[in-house]
């Protein structure tokens, strides 16, 4: 019996203190009766190892005690879906806002590129902190919903006011067979788009972010970029702002998975603006001499060759962009024609 008493003592330690004596007294009676039955069946007392095996079969003391507690969840199934949705949104927006604030600080304070790395390294801490707060709030909601079910019924999912008419249309695969954009993919697009924007805005102060060591060579060379690149640069920035903003709005409005035809065409057409701007520059002077009077004789021919090569390159890029745009427009036209024909049949 000593083993049984030791077992019951261990169980008792894990029981709710208000009921532990009562539960142990009942458990002891039942187990002793069971033990006596076993001994009567065998016609001899059980050996220590037999009692040990019997107790082991019953389960570890903390497991036996745990059965006397009601089932408990930190976040139960009734609120889990809402928790998961809020957690994803909160974490995504915390990362976006953190990057935005860091980006603004970097530009305003004209900080070094190392600060970009610091801002990125802060992201895991931000994610963990937001996740911890959301979890804590939902654990409190779960506690409330368990203890005051009538007051928090709306949060447990039974009484949500919704209408089937307000549901979004059936999602289909795009005609090209591409997989629909996932939420994580859409968030990554916004986050990386924003990082690219910050990088773009840092280029005027830190040209090596674009050209690498080439920036130092350019600085030491007799050539300099022509002023036409300034409006071109701001066109590219504006284009990126439009793209990131548009994607961000899609994300907020829950339309990240749908097709982005309008966005695609607007960005492509606007993308032609900086190209046209540089291609129409007078004399194709993409680069000029720092000291034309002194260097014209030495570097004039080289400068003309550089500008000519840049012009050819830009023409090729422009041709590719226009061809791609026309191809996409044609394909979209064919797709909508097919849809119209299918609808008429």
């Amino acid at each position: 019996m000593e083993l049984l008493d030791r077992y019951l003592q261990a169980v008792k330690k894990h029981l709710p203190w208000q009921r532990q004596d009562d539960i142990i007294a009942e458990l002891k009676t039942n187990l002793e009766a069971q033990l006596e039955d076993k001994e009567a069946e065998l016609g001899r007392p059980l050996t220590n190892s037999e009692i040990e095996a019997w107790l082991k079969k019953m389960g570890a003391p903390f497991q036996v005690a745990a059965r006397y507690f009601p089932q408990q969840y930190l976040i139960g199934p009734a609120v889990f879906r809402m928790y998961w949705l809020v957690l994803r949104l909160a974490v995504s927006w915390a990362v976006i806002i953190n990057l935005f604030v860091s980006g603004v600080q970097l530009i305003v304070n004209n900080s070094s590129p190392n600060a970009v790395g610091d801002a990125i390294l802060r992201i895991p801490g931000v994610i963990m902190s937001v996740a911890a707060w959301v979890t804590l709030i939902f654990a409190a909601i779960e506690f409330g919903a368990t203890h005051y079910p009538s007051r928090l019924q709306a949060l447990t999912g039974d009484t949500f006011d919704w209408s089937s008419g307000a549901l979004p249309p059936v999602e289909s695969r795009s005609t090209s067979g591409k997989q629909l954009r996932s939420y994580a993919y859409a968030v990554a697009e916004v986050v990386f788009g924003f990082i690219a924007l910050v990088w773009l805005l840092l280029i005027p102060q830190h040209p090596y972010l674009l050209m690498g060591p080439g920036a130092y060579y350019l600085q030491a060379s007799p050539f300099q970029a022509a002023p036409v690149w300034i409006p071109v640069y701001w066109c590219i920035v504006a284009l990126n702002v439009i793209q990131v903003g548009w994607r961000g709005i899609d994300l907020i409005r829950g339309r990240w998975s749908g097709p982005r035809r309008a966005q695609h065409f607007v960005v492509k057409i606007l993308g032609l603006v900086p190209l046209v701007l540089v291609l129409t520059i007078r004399d194709r002077a993409y680069f000029t001499l720092r000291h034309p009077a002194a260097d014209e004789a030495h570097y004039g021919a080289a400068l003309a060759a550089i500008n000519h090569a840049i012009h050819l390159g830009l023409l090729v890029v422009c041709f590719i962009v226009v061809a791609e745009l026309l191809w996409d427009l044609g394909r979209t036209g064919v797709e909508s024609y097919r849809k119209r024909m299918a609808a008429m049949q």
Partner: protein, 116 residues
């Protein structure tokens, strides 16, 4: 192969437990139309083919009591203090409803299995 067997066994065990859980409550309530204490209840269920672990049955009795479906009292029997349980008025009513539900489910599952 061994891994998939273990997975299948685990899955079967989980599904079996789910299937048994509700039935056990019904069987316990039915058995407690007559007053019993924990161990004799366990024996009575085992004799009818429903083996149930001590660590499952005794907490279940507490839970059913806290839900008002059972009543209990400590009483001495064979020189030992025992906690006797029996069905309460609410428990009687609940047993009737559950039994009806169980019969409906049983008939529907039977019909489904026979038709398929």
């Amino acid at each position: 192969m061994g891994y998939s067997m273990t997975m299948t066994e685990n899955l079967f065990e989980n599904l079996r437990m789910e299937l048994r859980r509700g039935c056990l409550t019904l069987a316990v309530l039915a058995q407690l139309r007559q007053e019993r204490y924990g161990y004799t209840l366990r024996k009575a269920l085992a004799e009818r083919g429903l083996e149930i672990d001590e660590s499952t049955l005794y907490p279940l009795l507490r839970r059913l009591e806290s839900q008002g479906l059972l009543t209990s009292e400590w009483r001495e029997e064979e020189k030992r203090n025992k906690r006797f349980y029996r069905l309460s008025g609410d428990g009687e009513q609940m047993l009737g409803q559950l039994f009806e539900e169980w019969q409906t489910i049983n008939a529907a599952v039977d019909a489904t299995i026979q038709n398929s």
